[in-house]
């Protein structure tokens, strides 16, 4: 294997994980505020379909991505309204929305199946692209990929460096205490769920307008469920979540190489392997036996603690002022 090959692989992992990154960061924001938006897989399907349909009919990519974000925010607003205002079960509502949005995408997407349509144009950043190795990986991409990388750091900065971000953590951990410190808990939860949904929608459009161009039946291949798992894997931390997304992307490309190397093994094995490996990774980061094992020495505990995350304390609960 020569270096060009490796560089190209890294570049493609970075690019193809972009939809997953948007979805993971969006869901992380929403869950950090205490609302689980389980409708992710449906939202991604529907927004991917709408994004492609708008691009196909108007030939305007800005409009396409905007429409996809609106779709994501709309679905999220149903989750937010039913859980925050009506106090319904978030899991049930999210699950039904997943099924509904998936079916809607099939129904409304029918006219667009396997039609060639516009794609996000490639845009190497002049100058930076000349940097050896890194230039080809990070700066020889398109605007959407750049945005996905920027988003990771923006989300991290927001959550850990700003006052509203700190309040966001408080709202998800202990709403009563956040309220005592001046947070309007339910309004904030509503807002973060909408923003999160819009980001998920953006991820959907990224899929149909860049990673896997066009539209077909169940086009996004269960990526929403993987995003939900990666949020847990990432311990509700944007950077760790993004790393999870890239690991999954990496596993996918490894399996496609392995497929050509081991021609006698059925291809399905390699297609499903990343999902199975993701489950193993999840088991690894939330295992009590390993907890005990690593709590032996202070530094091993420190490393382990940074690896595993705990869900926001008030995730999935409702808040009411006395």
């Amino acid at each position: 294997m020569d270096t060009t090959f490796i560089i190209l692989t890294f570049a493609s992992v970075l690019a193809e994980s972009a939809p997953l990154v948007f979805a993971v960061i969006g869901e992380t924001l929403s869950e950090k505020s205490g609302v689980t938006n389980l409708s992710l897989d449906g939202t991604i399907l529907l927004s991917a379909m709408v994004g492609f349909a708008v691009a196909f009919t108007t030939d305007n990519l800005y409009l396409a991505f905007f429409a996809a974000m609106i779709v994501g925010a709309l679905v999220a607003s149903i989750v937010a309204f039913s859980s925050i205002i009506l106090k319904l079960d978030q899991i049930a509502v999210g699950f039904i929305l997943t099924l509904l949005c998936g079916d809607l995408s099939t129904f409304f997407g029918n006219p667009y199946v396997r039609k060639p349509g516009p794609a996000v144009p490639h845009l190497a950043i002049p100058g930076l692209v000349e940097i050896p190795v890194l230039g080809k990986i990070f700066f020889d991409q398109n605007v959407v990929v750049y945005l996905s990388v920027l988003l990771i750091f923006a989300a991290w900065w927001w959550m850990y460096k700003t006052q509203p971000g700190l309040k966001l953590q408080g709202i998800g951990e202990r709403p009563a205490a956040a309220f005592a410190r001046g947070a309007n808990v339910n309004a904030q939860r509503f807002l973060y769920t909408l923003i999160g949904g819009a980001l998920v929608g953006f991820g959907g459009a990224t899929y149909s307008l860049f990673v896997k161009l066009g539209w077909s039946y169940h086009h996004t291949f269960g990526i929403g469920w993987i995003a939900l798992a990666i949020v847990i894997f990432g311990g509700w931390h944007p950077i760790r979540g993004a790393i999870g997304a890239y690991i999954f992307g990496g596993l996918q490309s490894v399996s496609s190489f392995a497929q050509s190397a081991f021609a006698n093994v059925p291809t399905q094995v390699f297609q499903t392997a990343p999902f199975a490996l993701m489950i193993l990774a999840l088991l690894f980061v939330s295992n009590e036996a390993l907890d005990r094992f690593f709590s032996g020495s202070p530094w091993s505990r420190r490393v382990w603690q940074s690896l595993r995350g705990t869900p926001p304390g008030a995730l999935g609960t409702t808040f009411e002022q006395e």
């Binding site: 700003t162 006052q163 700190l166 953590q169 009563a176 410190r181 001046g182």
Partner: protein, 491 residues
């Protein structure tokens, strides 16, 4: 800051939690607010600190009327409250927690917050690592963090709700030192407590609440006697009761220590004999529930041995406790005791612990009907338990008990029941007692404890007093012990 509360009223449904409360507190003083559970202390303080709205009345700060919509507004006006379980964020670091809610711009000003934290730490002699997790702190340290945080936000009136409940003695001494220092600096301190000793040690003036009303205000020097009378009313007196010959030891505790995350009760030694009734007295949350659950095998004691009928029962499942005739009736009748959604017949079937595969519904129906009559439950076999009133739920729970039990553990057996149901519940329990069942019950009602117990265990301030003989104990003594006075001598 001078504080005046004028004619404060607050209703929760039919309960008049605050009934025309008037209170004036001068700045630079430590003012005690004393009363039992449910006396209305917390409600009043939550109104003052903006957590709940009053129905009527006025709050004046330095003579100006205020109305807070939320706690943040109260803080801005200078009123801060420290809750019994500090309202902080266990997964965050000390510095993050300190920062959260500060109103100084968009970007976190960590350096400035750190300097603030260090300034207050030096001033009070606190020692908290800024990057430690709040979850790793003790309750006392979390209080210290809250004090510094509220002061940094400009609080001039500080409310402490039962601050000495979960903390150690050295921490308590430190806390009192801090409170005196704060008062010297001109802060107004309101100290909410049910502990006489604490009030005596600290407060210049004490207002006593009882059943939502102010029953009196005393100024230093005052006697514990005065306070007890104001707290518990005048009507307490012991009554005569029938005696039952005691039999074999049923339950034996040897050096049992029970603990949860905030409370640790040291070695308890107790022998309960068949036919004996033991009352567990104390302010709620002093460990009675922990103790009862350990006796039932639902929680594991940290150390020590629990024996039922001579057999060591540590780490045995509740099922084995049941088989040996010990049963636990929790205070949460609907939440823990019964299964909401199932009807009475279904409950009786479950309680029978039958090994048959098929349910004989006609027989079960008849059996349920007889039990309903026998225990005078107002309901039919198909009534769902959540549709029953509290009294009828308790009757149903008692009807579910199998005959020939050795030990019944009850938590607040008559809470929320009317007089008729209360009498009925006790007649059932005492009847079982004559047939040799031992009874352990926790209650917040002193009259109930004194009337039905043979011996009394008092839980107070993380300690359990040696069992008292109920016949030789007066309500007054008991009141003092519950309020933490004299516990030290008895240990």
């Amino acid at each position: 800051m001078r504080l005046e509360l004028k004619h404060i009223h607050k209703h929760f449904g039919a309960v008049h939690a605050n009934d025309d409360i008037c209170l004036t507190i001068e700045s630079g003083t430590i003012h005690g607010l004393l009363g039992e559970n449910g006396a209305g202390k917390s409600t009043l303080m939550k109104i003052l600190s903006g957590f709940i709205r009053r129905d009527a009345g006025e709050i004046l700060l330095d003579g100006g009327a205020v109305a807070f919509k939320n706690p943040a507004e109260a803080i801005r006006a200078g009123v801060g409250m420290l809750h019994q379980d500090p309202l902080d964020f266990p997964p965050l670091t000390v510095l993050d927690d300190f920062l959260l809610g500060r109103e100084d711009g968009f970007i976190q000003k960590r350096a400035r917050a750190l300097a603030d934290l260090e300034k207050f730490s030096r001033q009070f002699g606190f020692d908290l690592a800024p990057d430690a997790l709040v979850s790793a702190l003790t309750v006392g340290e979390r209080q210290q963090l809250e004090i510094m945080r509220l002061l940094s936000l400009g609080a001039k009136i500080l409310i402490f709700d039962e601050p000495t409940t979960g903390i150690s003695l050295p921490q308590k001494i430190k806390l009192f030192e801090t409170l005196r220092l704060l008062a010297q600096q001109g802060m107004t301190i309101i100290f909410v407590t049910h502990k006489l000793q604490d009030a005596e040690d600290l407060c210049g003036k004490v207002t006593v609440l009882r059943l939502g009303k102010v029953t009196g205000e005393v100024t230093c020097p005052f006697t514990a006697d005065q306070l007890v009378r104001l707290m518990f009313g005048q009507s307490l007196e012991t009554r005569a009761r029938a005696t039952v010959a005691l039999g074999e030891p049923v339950l034996e505790l040897r050096d049992v220590c029970v603990a949860d995350y905030r409370l640790r009760l040291p070695e308890i030694n107790l022998q309960v004999r068949s036919g004996e009734v033991i009352g567990l007295a104390g302010i709620e949350g002093s460990g009675q529930r922990l103790f009862l659950r350990a006796c039932a095998g639902l929680d594991q004691p940290v150390t020590g041995e629990i024996q039922l009928g001579g057999a060591r029962m540590n780490r045995r499942p509740y099922r084995e406790f049941l088989e040996r005739g010990a049963v636990y009736l929790p205070a949460g009748r609907l939440e823990e005791g019964l299964v909401p959604g199932l009807n009475l017949t279904e409950h009786f079937i479950l309680a029978k612990r039958s090994t048959e595969f098929f349910v004989n519904w006609p027989a079960a129906q008849t059996c349920a009907q007889t039990r309903i009559q026998e225990y005078s439950i107002r309901g039919v076999p198909t009534s769902r338990v959540e549709a029953l009133s509290g009294g009828n739920q308790q009757r149903a729970l008692l009807a579910l008990l199998q005959p020939g039990l050795k030990l019944i553990l009850l938590e607040h057996p008559t809470r929320g029941l009317d007089i008729e149901s209360t009498m009925w519940v006790w007649s059932q329990l005492l009847e079982r007692r004559t047939r040799g069942t031992a009874i352990l019950f926790a209650s917040a009602d002193l009259d109930e404890i004194l009337e039905y117990s043979d011996r009394i265990l008092v839980f107070s301030g993380g300690r359990v007093a040696r069992a008292l003989n109920a016949k030789e104990t007066s309500a007054h003594q008991l009141g003092e012990l519950i309020a933490g006075k004299g516990m030290e001598i008895r240990d």
